[in-house]
Amino acid sequence: MVDQKTTDNQEKKGITRRKFTIGVILASIGAVFVSLLSLLKILSPSKKGGGGYVSTIKQGDKLIYAKGEHTGSYVDFSSLQIGDAVLAYPEGKTSNPANLVQLIKLEEKEYKKPTHIDLTDRGVVAYSAICTHLGCIVSWVKNKKLPETSYTECFCHNSIFDPTSGAKVVAGPAPIPLAQIGIKIQDDGTMVFTSDFTGPIGPQV
C-alpha cells in the first residue's frame, strides 16, 4: 500500500498482493471442497439395512418351505426323497436372507467328516444357502441315477460344494465351505433347528 509505485515498477518477486489474493482464493476453494467431502460420510449410512448376512435363527425355530408350491407351510420329512433338496426358512423369519438354508436328504452312510454327523437327522443335512463367494443363492443339481453324486452349485460363478463332506468347495471361486446348521425331525414329520451355524455365512469380504 505504501510503496505501490515501487512494487508496480519492480520485477514481481516474492509475495505480491495479487499472488497473495489468488493464493487465498484457491486455498478457500480447496477448503470448501475438502469440507464438502464430509457429505460423503453422511451419504453412506452405516445402519444395517437388512443385508450383511447375520442370521437370526434360534434353536427350536420350525422350518418352512422357501420356494415352490408349498411356500410358507412346514417342511414335511416324508415328502423328501433320497437325493432331494429344498430351500427352507425358519418360520416367521423369512425377511432376512441370511436365514435361508438348503435341506438335503441322502443315504445316512454317505456323510463323512468334516460333516457334523450329530447335526444331521435320518440322512437330512442343512447348510446355509448363501454362497460364500458373492451372496447368490445356491441350487441343487440332482443326479437321479446316482443320488449320492448330486451336489450343490452356485450358478453365479459356478462354485460347487460337496454336501457329503461338510459342503467343502470342490470347484469355483468360493473361498470357504457353506456353514452347517443342526436340525431334528419331530414325530409329525416337521423339522426344527437345533443349533447355530457352525461357521461364518455369506460372502467373505
Partner: protein
C-alpha cells in the same frame, strides 16, 4: 426472413463460418462416434417415456394377487402397455449399442493413433464417457428389481465391498446402506436418471467442443500435399449441409435397426425372472460386463492376502484391480506413445507394428476373458481356460507383430 431476424441478433453468419463449415472426414469408421451419440439420444428419449411410468421403490405391493416390490410391479405394468415392452427393449438395446459403438470408436482412434498430441485430453474424456456409460448400464440393471437385478447387483455390492480399506464405506455410499436396503432403489434411480446422464451430457459437450476446436485427424491422403494441390485442407465434406443430412438419415436408419432388433429379440424378460426370490437363476451379465464376470470365474477362491490391514480377495483382484488396471493402461497410451510435434494425420495401422499388434493381443485377451464367462457351457476347467487365455493373447500379439514387421520390411 426468420433467419435474417435471428442473424441480426445471434450473429448466425459468424457461427456458420466458425462451426458449420468444419469438414467431416468421409471414411465410414468416423461414424462410430455418431452411433454412440445417437444411441445416447435414443436412450434419453425412451428413458423419459419409462421415467413417467417407473416407481423407484422396493416397497411390497400387490400385483395380480402376489406381493412384489413396487418397482417390479411398475415395470410389469409398463410391459403390459401397448408398445411398453418395445420401448423398454429399445432402451436396453440402445445401451448395448452405445457401449459397442464407444468401443469401436475407441479402437478406431487407437489403431490410427488419433489419440496423439494434441488430442490426449479428448482421449481421456472418451475413456471417461466409456466408464460412465458402463456405470449407467450397471445402475439400470437394478431398477426393474427382478430376481436377476437383485442377484447382479448383490454381486456388484460385494465387489465394491472388497475394495481394500475403504470397501465398506464405498459400498454403503453407492448402495445407500447395506444391500438390499430400502434406500438402494431410490439412490440408483437418482444416479441412473439424473447424475450420470448429466455427467454424460457435460462430457459429451466437452468432447465435441474440443473436437470442433481441434478438428478431426486428417486422412493419410492429405499428408505431404502442397497447398496448390489442396493440401492443408481437410479432405471431407462440410458439416452443414452435407454431413448434417447424412447424420440425420443415419440417425433414423440406426433407430430403425434398433427398433427392428428390439421387436424380434427379447431382452431382460423380467416376467421370466420373476420378483426377487430364493433361488438364483442361471444368469450372465450383458456382454460388456462379461470380462469382469469371466475373470471372477477364473480366479481361485483361496487367493486372498492382506497388506497393511487391507484385505485383498479374488473379488478385489478380478472386480476392482483388474478393471482399474485396464482403464489405466488405456489412459496411459497417449502418454507412452507420444510425439513431439502435434500430429494431425492419422497413421496406417499396418505401419505401426508394435502398437497394432499390442492392440490385437489385448483385444484377444479381453475377448478370451469374456469367453471365460461361458466355461460352464463350454465345459472347460478354469486352469485350462487361463492357459488358453494367456496363450491365445500372446500368440495373437507375437504373430501379428512378426507379420507386420515383415510387411514393413518388404515395403522398404
Amino acid at each position: 426472413m426468420i433467419l435474417k431476424w435471428l442473424d441480426e441478433r445471434l450473429e448466425l453468419k459468424k457461427f456458420n463460418a466458425k462451426f458449420l463449415t468444419k469438414t467431416f472426414p468421409t471414411h465410414p469408421t468416423f461414424l462410430f462416434g455418431e452411433i454412440a451419440l445417437f444411441s445416447f439420444i435414443t436412450l434419453v428419449i425412451t428413458g423419459i417415456f419409462l421415467g413417467f411410468l417407473y416407481e423407484p421403490s422396493s416397497k411390497m405391493v400387490s400385483l395380480f394377487g402376489a406381493m412384489v416390490p413396487s418397482a417390479y410391479a411398475s415395470v410389469v405394468r409398463t410391459d403390459l402397455l401397448p408398445m411398453g415392452m418395445i420401448i423398454r427393449r429399445i432402451h436396453h438395446w440402445s445401451a448395448m449399442i452405445m457401449i459397442a459403438a464407444i468401443l469401436a470408436h475407441l479402437m478406431r482412434i487407437y489403431f490410427t493413433s488419433a489419440y496423439r498430441k494434441p488430442r490426449e485430453i479428448n482421449w481421456l474424456i472418451g475413456l471417461g464417457l466409456w466408464a460412465l456409460a458402463m456405470f449407467a448400464a450397471f445402475t439400470g440393471y437394478l431398477l426393474p428389481y427382478s430376481n436377476f437385478s437383485v442377484t447382479a447387483t448383490s454381486i456388484a455390492y460385494y465387489i465394491a465391498k472388497s475394495v481394500p480399506w475403504i470397501g465398506n464405506w464405498i459400498s454403503r455410499l453407492l448402495f445407500a446402506g447395506d444391500f438390499p436396503s430400502p434406500y438402494t432403489v431410490p439412490r440408483f434411480f437418482f444416479m441412473h436418471v439424473m447424475l450420470i446422464p448429466i455427467l454424460l451430457l457435460g462430457l459429451i459437450g466437452l468432447h465435441m467442443i474440443i473436437l470442433i476446436k481441434q478438428k478431426h485427424t486428417e486422412p493419410l491422403a492429405n499428408k505431404g500435399r502442397k497447398e496448390s494441390e489442396g493440401g492443408k485442407q481437410l479432405i471431407g465434406i462440410p458439416i452443414w449441409p452435407e454431413q448434417m443430412l447424412i447424420s440425420i438419415a443415419f440417425f433414423f436408419f440406426l433407430l430403425f435397426v434398433v427398433v427392428l432388433i428390439a421387436t424380434y429379440i427379447p431382452l431382460n424378460p423380467i416376467e421370466d425372472y420373476g420378483p426377487p426370490s430364493p433361488g438364483t437363476p442361471v444368469m450372465r451379465p450383458d456382454w460388456y460386463f462379461l470380462v469382469v464376470y469371466g475373470c471372477l470365474k477364473l480366479l481361485p477362491g483361496d487367493l486372498a492376502f492382506s497388506i497393511l490391514g487391507g484385505k485383498f480377495t479374488p473379488e478385489t483382484i478380478g472386480g476392482v484391480i483388474f478393471p482399474g488396471l485396464t482403464i489405466l493402461v488405456f489412459a496411459l497410451i497417449p502418454f507412452l506413445d507420444r510425439v513431439k510435434k502435434p500430429q494431425n494425420y492419422i497413421e496406417n495401422p499396418l505401419h505401426r507394428p508394435f502398437m497394432t499388434s499390442f492392440g490385437i493381443g489385448g483385444g484377444v485377451f479381453l475377448s478370451m476373458l469374456a469367453a471365460a464367462g461361458y466355461i460352464d457351457v463350454l465345459n472347460i476347467t478354469p486352469t485350462r481356460m487361463i492357459i488358453y487365455t494367456v496363450g491365445a493373447s500372446l500368440a495373437a500379439w507375437s504373430i501379428s507383430y512378426v507379420l507386420l514387421h515383415l510387411y514393413n520390411k518388404e515395403k522398404k
